[in-house]
């Protein structure tokens, strides 16, 4: 990820994320060229597009998992939380241990009661000492989403967050995104199914 300090002074201090001239590629194949994006506080951006159009790859560039070879991705000092298609959870570690590792990894201090509160909201408090490998796909997905409560991140990057979720967990996610936006956070979501939240900006990607 290239962080441009010059841009910091030029950009609106409120802006959470700026992307300019980004080349999104898989191997030698360019999926997006000169991609620009500016994410302001309170924004919800949905990235739509058919399979293979580059939604997940774009999100991985935004998260810094893949490095930009052309263009810049600049968080202007703000922190991010990334929930990819893979759970990011170790199957032999418990729910609680995984979330503790995620918070430590993000260099964020979080107390045990806060972690338990996050798990309680998603109905996982009773499973806190269960290895993630023993959870159902939906419960593991919930556990991954609980990390959003663990992070004190301004920008949430969510890849197909509704996958494997039941109605109550989907509602929890939508409520969380709404509350996050109200607190001047923002979310960028790659999804086939719109979350249906108000004031959503949609970016449609086409097959290259």
């Amino acid at each position: 990820m290239i962080v441009s300090h010059d841009k910091l002074t030029e950009t609106n201090a409120q802006t959470l994320l700026t992307v300019s001239g980004l080349l999104v590629e898989v191997g030698e194949r360019a999926l997006l060229t000169d991609f620009d994006l500016k994410v302001e506080p309170g924004a919800l951006i949905e990235i739509n597009g058919p399979n293979g159009s580059g939604k997940t790859t774009l999100l991985r560039y935004l998260a810094g998992v893949r490095r930009a070879h052309k263009g810049t991705v600049d968080y202007l000092g703000h922190s991010l939380a990334y929930i990819g298609q893979k759970s990011g959870l170790n199957s032999s570690m418990t729910v609680f241990e995984n979330l503790t590792w995620i918070s430590q990894n993000a260099d964020q201090e979080i107390t045990e009661p806060d972690l338990l509160d996050a798990l309680a909201e998603l109905g996982l408090k009773a499973r806190r000492n269960t290895p993630v490998g023993a959870l159902s796909a939906g419960q593991a997905r919930r556990c991954g989403l609980a990390s959003l409560r663990v992070f004190d991140a301004k920008v949430w990057l969510l890849d197909e967050p509704l996958t494997s979720l039941d109605a109550s967990a989907s509602d929890w996610l939508k409520d969380s995104i709404t509350a996050h936006r109200a607190e001047n956070g923002a979310a960028v979501v790659a999804t086939h199914t719109s979350l249906g939240l108000p004031d959503t900006v949609t970016i449609d990607l086409d097959l290259p």
Partner: protein, 223 residues
Amino acid sequence: MSAFLIAFNRTIRIGWRHPLDSLNPMAFFIIVTSLISITVEGGFSATESALAIAILWVVLLLSTMMASGSAYAQDYEDGSLEQLIAQNQSLYISVQGSVAARWFLSSVPLLALVPLGAWMLNLDMSVWGMLFLTLIPGSIVFALFGVLGATLTLGVGRNGVLLALLVLPLYVPVLLLGVGACQRSLGQEPFEFALIGIYAIAVASITFLPFAIAALLRVSQEY
């Protein structure tokens, strides 16, 4: 908590729950050394200690390769590696912590078996001290190169043969220096050069190889 301790604690915790990852190389070490000792007619004589030293080193090397083949494979599969990279922690320090934990989990138990192997191979006790003095830095280098090889082949799937082909040549200098130092010590010859050499390689490996491993972990996310 520092990135080193976070990675160290996590790797120890996961390793503790997969004891076979440490026990299999230990079983391999015992089986090979015991089979060699019983198939040599009349056992190893004192004059064959030089050969016994080389056998112990090679068996320890192969056992370490068994243990390190799966490094970061699970993190790659379950997306933990994505999280590690996305959160912009110092990957270099994190790799050091993870490799240190792997050395502790896999190599330390193997080192504890060395006296048993040395006894089975009838190795002259006068060289046991030198054996440990060289095997400790040697096993650290083996662990680092093993993880380097494993990260090179992340995403390749069943990577055992490829891993061996990639990494085996890198082990040779340490192997030659370590065995050489022990054999020279046994023959009352000067061994300081070989000893300094193996420690120098260990220090250089601890310092520089985590950079290479961290870079390879990032590259693994590009495809």
